[in-house]
Amino acid sequence: MIPLAHYLILSGILFSIGLAGVLIRKNIIVVFMCLEMMLTAANVALVAFSRAQGTAGVPVYDAQVLSLFITGIAAAEVAIGLALIVAMFRARRTVESTALNSLKD
């Protein structure tokens, strides 16, 4: 059986890649993929914890329910995000975050 720590390390790696990608990458579609990765990291951790907290092989289902909610919310977020990206592409013909420069001090 795979120990809990391995799942947590995996989720930590996913979270770090996601966070780094959001901060570093310039293409907004890639940034979106990284945001999804952060949510997936939380899902992995939740499901792993739900097993680990369970007794006699029965997991605590609370955490799995939350992971379902997260999946749904992530889908809604992507729908809104892609709509905004399409609107931006129509207006500026690019999806690079460096083009977002009309609002600044």
Binding site: F15, L39, F49, V65, D105
Partner: protein, 482 residues
Amino acid sequence: MNIVSTYTWCQFAPAFALVGLAALLILADALLPKLPKRIYAFIAAMGTFVAAYFLSNGEHADSFGCIASIATGLSILLAFDYTKVCCESIAGGDNEDGTGEFYALPLVACAGILCLTQARDLVMLFVSLEVITLTSYVMAGYFRRNQGSIEAGIKYLVLGAMSTGILVYGTAWYFGMIGSFNLGPETVIAALKGGVAGSPSLAIGFMMSIALLFAGAFFKIGAAPMHVWIPDVYQGAPTPTTAFLAVASKTAGFVVLCALALPFTQFAVPGSLIGKVLVTTFAIVAAATLLIGNLGAMRQTNVKRLLGYSSIGQAGFILIFFLQLQGPVTFFVCKYLLAYALATIAAFYAVAMVRTQRGSEEIAAFRGLGKTNPRTAFLITVCFASLAGVPLTMGFMVKLYSFVTVISVIQNWDAFCWLLPIMVVTAAAGFYYYFKVLRAMYWEKSQPGVPALQVPLCTSIVLALCAIALIYMGTMPLLTLG
């Protein structure tokens, strides 16, 4: 399996009612294309005011929810006066197509806030918070013919989703360390004294989860390291949305912060390590927020951006209340939020009015208002004076509470003396930048030939009511003292 629910359906009755109303409005928008869209704005605003009435006392009493629903209603009414710009920026020209949802969406977000105030565990907290933020993303990017609005929408979405990711990762670890999503003080105390205290690795995981959760909450209120989105989004978003974000969404942020911080009240005694860590964190974040918000506002020329920085600065003054952890924290936070909400909403009404008729949101567009519209200029003066904290306005009273709190904290902990000078300097900075608008209205001449503003009905009523409320609640405590 026996499922025990922490919640009753009845708790969410106001939220369900608002979502139902929003669904009805969206249906009506699709089925009755001939109806003028302003009617939707009016109905939606009335719906939130009715909700606010039921939340003000009785079975559903909930002061945060009440402030949030009044603020939502006022920002929808702001859209009512702003229809000209809405039509121009959504469908182009006088075309009203696609503007209906813009008036219905804030209702959904408001329902999210009402659920949030009832949340007793992290699942409810997270889901209702997402209802608010997802709706806000749509609202921020709604003016698709306006470059600034799309940019604001994307910036808000990327940074907001990042904070969601951080918050939800914290939630996962909270569950892993404690074994439940419950946010009650009993759970936290049991965890800190029992399992977590016994095992150093659990304690580290627990502290990490709390830090991640606080980071998510600080994003919502725009506290210092997580404030970067505020000026851009506030400037770019449609003005009714900005008003919603500045007041209702900020209220939601403080609800989250209360829910996360207040279980730790028992540790807020000098000497306990956890209390010391928490209070120091709050002190540093509050000081940084005050400095960045108030000093950043000084060099702004765009009123919406100025109000964005001002909202960061005001959040700093509210964060001060969390330093005491014990005592009536939520009461003071509500009081401050009410003063902030009334003045800020009125300021956005003024911005929207000037934008519709003079086509600009710069401070320069306010020039000469004192001559051409003396009464409106006076009402705007009261609101900005309250934001700055001039005596005899409610803004002064609540800033006073903030100062009293910090002095008592300094006495209790015998530390954090550096907070007081920072607060004095930032409050003084507030006088400078709020009065820039007043100076433009009274001392700078408008260009010749610029006509007086036509004050729309809703704007004049709301400005007058807000100004009266601010003065009444600023002078009442003095009268009752005497």
